[in-house]
Symmetry: C2
Subunit: 348 residues, 2 copies
């Protein structure tokens, strides 16, 4: 089985965006009392949004199941307040649940959290619990910068985040470290902010004892780990110069990288320098780069092709990247059929 | 000849730091009138600071000349105001000039600029001109985030920066895009802020028409280009999706990467994906990573070894990386002896 651990519902029916616009309009009206409101999207609309996109690509590329979450840039935690984020997260997560219910073999849910700048992350415990226990989700996306490019909250290794981590450990779910839209004109979202956040989070982990406090806490750093594998020597050296333990001992039981790197030489580097146990297959389709690479004639984000092209990768290692590591990290995915596994466990 | 385009005076005599501490103490005293003050460092002290460090490593590693600038993390443009930065930059640049005068065959100067958050970069024209025309410097370091991790100034592609670019073009000097210390606890300086700034600047260039306005403006993105070469496919795809020209046409006449990547697989990737004409040899010694890699028995930042180890790199391409490209980008370095070239040209 081939598990793609990084997909967002970027093709959601336009009613979702209309909902969001109504919500944002309400923020401008002092007399408006926030409420969850309703989202009228039919099952057929959901099918129509997925069939020519994520499902078509799954079939064409030969991948089986996508760990699926709301659109990352749409989370926009910097907009409104914690109540805004709460309703918006609930609506987005419920839509993901409907996707996973309609296509239990193709999608497994990961939730958006109702983060808000300056608001203690403990406020996310309730929605995380609901998504895992009631909706059968297997993880969450955690935004290390809810301010959207101002970086005003504490680092991920601060005790500020601990109440959420306690809940993650209790529920046995990992977080993908994933920022949202950037409201800082310096940072293009998918071309800078995303990768910077990945790099930033890794260095935060490197300089802290977070995983002594939470030995079973797990993070996936997406987009191939930002700049980290390319600078693996720098990070090994920085750890050494700072008197930290070697990376393997320091954080490689807890930190994993996905394969959202959109060319063969990048994937080769990733597989060369990062231990195979720490790499999870992912494409982020349909996501940051949507077109076909004129140099190869294939989609930039068809990352399976790059991995398939690496002849020196052994069959057992390939299985780890495509399947075994995802089951280990998203440990609520237990049985041979990933999709029904998550649903099954949620029902117990 | 082997030109290392990225070295900082990280080993300056402690009197420099004492000067800075006096300057910062003055900031806290409302009655204090800022003045440049004086820096008592002897020639012997300068020699003693370089002989067992940069000069020793040049000899051991077989490099010839280092394009040398004040310590990057010491610039700290976010501290004080523009007057603080002006005096501090003048003192640091004059110290670099003394280094280059004492060792004209080993060092060529690049200046720190008196940037300050919120202050138009036009204020840097005077110091840049002085350093180039009077001190024989061949370039400058340009901090894309003078706020030190808050990113409050406009992107490098904003007209805010144009008066400085006009002067750079007039003087025919490039800028290395280099942030300084981070005062944002999210960003470790050398492990996150530096690499993030590199990635950020590249994406700013990708989304703008800056090089239509300044066809001869040149930037070096250090630390191997941050995350960029590892994600070269992503950037090619983003340019395509955004309707921008191909990277080569869009920015590769103007944007160059150094080789400060501290392991062989990273250097291999860089040389595989980035055109050879856009790569300049550099080590940043003595810099971010100071120790020996236990996996190789050699210094992490001995980047020449990695390039030497790449068998498929042709001799002409190797010469471009070690020498020719630096002369082209730092075009005030014209003759066969790089050091005396800069000094000679300054004297004309």
């Amino acid at each position: 089985m081939i598990i793609d651990c990084h997909g967002h519902y970027t093709t959601a029916p336009r009613e979702l965006e209309a909902y969001r616009q109504r919500q944002l309009a309400g923020l401008k009206d002092p007399a408006h009392i926030p409420a969850q409101g309703s989202l009228a999207i039919s099952d057929d609309q959901i099918r129509e949004s997925l069939e020519p996109a994520q499902l078509k690509f799954q079939r064409e590329r030969g991948t089986d199941v996508t760990i699926f979450s709301p659109r990352a840039s749409g989370m926009a935690h910097h907009v409104g307040d914690a109540t805004t984020s709460r309703y918006w997260s609930e609506v987005c997560n419920e839509l993901i649940h409907r996707v996973c219910t309609l296509y239990p073999d193709n999608f497994v849910g990961v939730c958006q959290l109702p983060q808000s700048p300056g608001v203690p992350p403990a406020n996310c415990r309730e929605e995380l619990t609901r998504c895992v226990q009631q909706l059968g989700f297997v993880g969450c996306n955690l935004n290390p910068d809810p301010s959207g490019g101002r970086w005003t909250d504490p680092p991920l290794t601060d005790r500020w985040w601990y109440p959420l981590y306690e809940k993650m450990v209790e529920l046995d779910v990992p977080a993908m470290v994933h920022v949202s839209a950037s409201c800082n004109p310096n940072f293009h979202a998918t071309g800078a902010h995303y990768l910077n956040a990945d790099t930033t989070a890794f260095m935060q982990f490197l300089t802290s004892d977070l995983f002594k406090d939470f030995p079973t806490l797990k993070f996936i750093i997406p987009h191939g780990g930002g700049a980290v594998p390319y600078h693996w020597g720098r990070y090994r050296g920085l750890a050494q110069d700072l008197g930290r333990p070697p990376l393997r001992e320091l954080l490689l039981n807890n930190v994993f990288f996905d394969t959202c790197v959109y060319h063969l030489p990048g994937i080769e580097l990733l597989l060369k320098v990062v231990p195979v146990d720490n790499i999870l297959f992912a494409s982020e389709m349909v996501g940051a780069v949507k077109s076909i690479d004129p140099e190869t004639g294939h989609y930039f984000d068809d990352t399976k092709r790059y991995i398939d092209a690496i002849g020196w990768l052994s069959a057992p290692d390939r299985r780890k990247i495509f399947d075994g590591n995802a089951r280990r990290v998203y440990s609520r995915l237990k049985t041979s059929s990933a999709g029904s596994a998550a649903t099954g466990r949620a029902a117990t």
